[in-house]
């Protein structure tokens, strides 16, 4: 019998079998071992229309489109990060060159907790692999509107930070409620910056959410929002730690649920994020996702102890989820300048200060940000960042579609930057990255 994928599906599988954060860390060599066993034993790569690709390595320039790495890219990364981000980039290139219709970068280490400024690792992430791919797509392929849907159990605070001010990149994160899980953020009130109010959509779900509640959220919040936004591309940050066996979270999602989610969301590219139930979940979840992307039957992909009746949410939990979705939709429908004025007020410049914790590397960072309010583009901004490792840097960002006024403002900020160890200019309008000491 000739099996054939309905959608040409590309896969980058890079388990980094010789890399770990440390030997007993969840992000260790063994993490994708049993996933490899399962997808190899299933013979998925033999199916006509499913093709495995070797990942590319990203360049420093790819990283500089997204991050201010302090002091530079090689210092805050390992070669493994260049490969995992490279895997995502490979899928983007194959998609744009038309060799595939769907792509799944099944790579590690993950990236969605990495923010714009990088002093080190946080939440097992150093550089944001989806954002690096997205900026590659914008620069090399001129893709205008992109939606990132983060279905990792943890709030994708890094991706949120990177696209906070950008109304052209919609960021939706579904995650276990931040009151009950790292990184403790991702509340509905976090809705994007003054120039992009409403274009960050956080959907905090209660612990024990299972198939019904999760898929309800996808169908009643995520999909309607995507319908409105009309992205050119949909990216899925496909964390797998909502699984009922995950050791570091409290959700009840399943392999069937993940496969159905993938089918509903229908992303152009999925990128693996977290997921630490390496034996009981990952082999099945990944097989399910690959089959769903390829448009093949996944109904037999069931965990050995799968029992939907036991996993099902209580009525209260479901009702709570319905309310969350209603509020999310209500806020989405109010997105734009009006919402911005209500939340941020009307100002020429917006300032904010915050402190950021790098749990993986034990670093504290203090940030002061100033943003030019703009209705013509995403707005230039300037970040002053200080870490307890002694670094003081200034980073200036000029957006991809910068208007002349924001461009001039950004250039001026960079020119006048002083009193820091290093200053960086990330001029996305010219795909340029400058630094000075």
């Amino acid at each position: 019998m000739m099996l054939k994928a309905k959608s040409k599906t590309g896969l980058v599988f890079f388990p980094a079998f010789d890399w770990a954060i440390d030997p007993s860390h969840p992000e260790r060599e063994e993490r994708l071992l049993y996933t490899q066993d399962q997808i190899f034993e299933e013979g998925l790569m033999d199916i006509e229309g499913i093709q495995e690709f070797k990942p590319d390595l990203v360049t420093d320039q790819d990283i500089q489109r997204v991050h201010f790495c302090v002091p530079d890219e090689p210092t805050v990364t390992t070669s493994s990060h260049y490969v995992s981000a490279g895997g995502a980039k490979t899928m983007a290139r194959e998609l744009m060159e038309g060799r595939i219709e769907k792509g799944f970068a099944l790579v590690r280490p993950p990236g969605h907790h990495a923010m714009r400024v990088v002093h080190g690792g946080r939440g097992f992430c150093n550089i944001n692999i989806e954002a690096i791919m997205v900026e590659y797509l914008r620069t090399h392929w001129g893709v205008k509107r992109i939606a990132i849907v983060d279905t990792d159990c943890h709030h994708g605070d890094g991706t949120q930070d990177i696209y906070w001010h950008d109304p052209d990149v919609l960021f939706i994160s579904l995650h276990q409620d931040g009151r009950t899980l790292y990184p403790g953020s991702g509340f509905m009130e976090e809705l994007g910056g003054p120039n992009a109010a409403g274009y960050t959509v956080n959907i905090p779900l209660p612990p024990h959410t299972s198939e019904e509640g999760y898929l309800y959220t996808v169908e009643n919040a995520v999909l309607p929002i995507l319908d409105d936004f009309k992205p050119d591309l949909i990216i899925n940050s496909a964390g797998q730690d909502n699984h009922y066996t995950d050791p570091i979270t409290n959700m009840n999602f399943t392999a069937q649920g993940y496969a159905r989610l993938t089918e509903l969301l229908n992303p152009h590219i999925a990128v693996l994020e977290g997921g630490y139930s390496i034996e009981a979940a990952l082999p099945y979840v990944n097989a399910g996702i690959i089959l769903a992307m390829a448009g093949l039957d996944y109904s037999h992909v069931l965990e050995p102890d799968y029992n939907p009746a036991v996993l099902k949410e209580s009525k209260d939990t479901l009702q709570y989820i319905h309310k969350v979705c209603d509020r999310v939709m209500d806020q989405w429908n109010r997105r734009g300048p009006e919402l911005s004025q209500k939340v941020f007020g009307k100002k020429e410049f917006h300032e904010r200060s915050r402190s950021i914790m790098y749990d993986t590397d034990g670093i504290y960072e203090g940030q002061k940000e100033i943003l030019r309010s703009c209705t013509d583009c995403a707005g230039s901004f300037r970040i002053e960042s200080k870490s307890d490792r002694g670094w003081r840097i200034i980073g200036v960002h000029i957006p991809v579609n910068a208007c002349p006024a924001c461009k001039a403002q950004g250039e001026d900020w960079y020119e006048k930057a002083s009193g820091a160890d290093k200053a960086y200019l990330q001029d996305r309008s010219r795909d340029l990255y400058l630094k000075k000491s």
Partner: protein, 554 residues
């Protein structure tokens, strides 16, 4: 003395080799209906008056298995499979009587669901009702734990003439290929068994007492008796003979492209320091993907008889063949005609060739000679592009460690070895368009038979140790033992080397000079919580393909 036979689809090349080189050779027409007769004609042809007792080894390639698959003449096989979580096993249905029974193992070989022995019995009864005498038994992850296949095998005993299990044929993970390979083994067994019996009897009758070996898809050999245990391995043994035949002429320590240019196709392979590159998983024949180890080889539709035509000022070569060249009485111009026009091919009607090339040249806006040069150059360029694409494919194979990603071997062809009819004519042109040193394999007409004659016995074994579950297994070799907590990589490598050595000897290898190498070795700490629960060790060892000696050939 060694006899090597390459039994091809249309003709059979045979050589008799002494220590100093080729003593005798012959070429026979292959009778597909009577391969044994073909083999005997070949043997008689090279032996002449020589005492058959002096023959120390006979190696033959055979088209038997490939043809059985392509012509769909395998004996009917009943399949009983158990799968567990994953794709629907019915999607892998093969053969006239395919049965899925309950029972499941996981990636570490733990039982998820017990085997439904009643269902197995029922399946056997249904298969027997259809009059089917061969059965293949496969479970998912049987290479991690063969117990379900073994239980089925036990139950099948006495009920069928041939019983094949998935875990014995390869240690590689890939359930669909395991199913197909097991089916192929069981389906070709009857025919292979008769062939093997007939060859043995005929050789005995002629006084040849030497061990008889069969060439495998990976360019290695195994004895006739060993072949009965896994006859599917003989698939594609013909193409592997040619590649092995190029090895004596390949420079050491270089990456070499082997190009075998035939009438309608060019077969391409890669040698790295005289060792052929293998397929990652196994041979594919007639659309059936298997786990039988095989040389990496790519076939493209370009050859001396490929039909030439011009469409919109553009020259097209092949992929069709519409008969022989014009100069040999064919209907349409071919690259052979271009050679004839340029005086590079004797023995044909040059006038006919010239006429054809004149017509072709008119469409291209060229004189016949210029058009002929253009045709040959284009042919070389097309072969080059396909060959370089194959190399890019090999270099683009996915890897799973940073080490391989950053320091993995990159194939960079440094020389060409050209075989086949137009080899001598095309070798210089190919070298030129590729920018590489290039030469025709001398005496290419028997190189394939020499390749078969000198191929060494090959095999591979996979060892898996799981110290948390407390076992070390090599299901291919029916090996299973308890693994103490202290079992480590060195132990696993020692075991794999021992098993692969024993296997090679059992398959007919010469103990003298037997070299074993470790192909892969991976060790993982299995952390549960913050505690190390055990080690998961995977080792794959092999005897790699190569020649027993260069033996006065080059």
């Amino acid at each position: 003395m060694i006899i090597g036979l390459d039994v091809g689809g249309t003709h059979t090349d045979v050589v008799l080799l002494g220590p100093e080189g080729v003593l005798a050779r012959t070429k026979e027409v292959t009778d597909q209906e009577n391969l044994v007769d073909t083999v005997l004609r070949g043997v008689d042809g090279v032996l002449g008056d020589i005492d058959p007792g002096k023959v120390s080894r006979v190696v033959l390639s055979t088209t038997l298995t490939t043809n059985s698959v392509i012509r769909n003449t395998l004996t009917p096989v009943g399949m009983v499979v158990a799968a567990g979580p994953g794709m629907d096993p019915k999607l892998h249905t093969i053969g006239p009587s395919f049965h899925v029974v309950k029972g499941a193992l996981d990636h570490r070989g733990a039982e998820i669901a017990a085997l439904d022995k009643e269902a197995v019995k029922k399946a056997f009864a249904l298969i027997r009702e259809k009059g089917i005498r061969a059965v293949g038994l496969v479970t998912k992850f049987s290479v991690r734990n063969p117990s379900h296949e073994e239980a089925m095998e036990k139950a099948a005993r006495g009920l069928f003439d041939s019983v094949f299990c998935g875990h014995r044929l390869s240690g590689v993970l890939n359930f669909p290929r395991r199913v197909a390979s097991c089916w192929l083994n069981a389906g070709v067994h009857d025919a292979f068994s008769s062939f093997s019996q007939a060859v043995k009897e005929a050789f005995q009758a002629r006084g040849i007492i030497a061990p008889v070996h069969i060439l495998k898809a990976d360019g290695g050999t195994f004895s006739l008796d060993a072949a009965l245990e896994c006859p599917g391995e003989t698939v594609l043994s013909g193409p592997s003979a040619s590649v092995m035949g190029a090895i004596p002429h390949a420079p050491s320590a270089k990456d070499v492209l082997v190009l075998d240019i035939g009438g309608t196709t060019t077969d391409m392979a890669v040698l790295i320091d005289k060792v052929p590159v293998l397929e990652p998983l196994g041979a594919e024949v007639g659309g059936v993907k298997t786990l039988f180890r095989a040389l990496k080889s790519v076939s493209i539709g370009l050859g001396g008889d490929s039909v030439l035509h011009v469409a919109g000022k553009e020259l097209h070569i092949g992929p069709d063949r519409k008969g022989p060249a014009l100069c040999l009485g064919g209907p349409l111009p071919t690259p052979t005609d271009a050679m004839a026009v340029l005086g590079l091919f004797e023995g044909g009607d040059r006038a006919a060739a010239l006429k054809g090339m004149e017509v072709l040249g008119r469409d291209l806006g060229m004189e016949a000679e210029a058009a002929s040069c253009f045709v040959l150059k284009s042919l070389c360029e097309k072969i080059r592009d396909a060959a370089f694409a194959m190399v890019a494919g090999i270099n683009g194979r996915p890897v799973y460690t940073l080490h391989e990603m950053l320091e993995g071997y990159v194939v960079k062809p440094e020389a060409l070895l050209v075989m086949g009819g137009p080899a001598a004519v095309l070798a210089p042109g190919l070298g030129e368009v590729c920018g590489l040193e290039s030469r025709a394999v001398p005496d290419w007409g028997v190189a394939n038979a020499i390749g078969a004659a000198l191929a060494r016995t090959t095999c591979a074994v996979t060892v898996l140790a799981d110290t948390q579950r407390g076992f070390v297994r090599a299901p291919e070799e029916a090996y299973s033992a308890e693994a103490p907590v202290a079992f480590n990589m060195a132990d696993a490598i020692a075991l794999a080397e021992k098993l692969v050595r024993e296997k090679a000897l059992r398959l007919g290898a010469d103990a003298k000079g037997l070299e074993v190498e470790v192909l892969e070795s991976q060790e993982f700490s299995m952390m549960r919580g913050y505690r190390r629960a055990g080690r998961n060790i995977r080792v794959r060892a092999q005897v790699k393909p190569g020649l027993i000696r260069n033996g006065g050939i080059a």
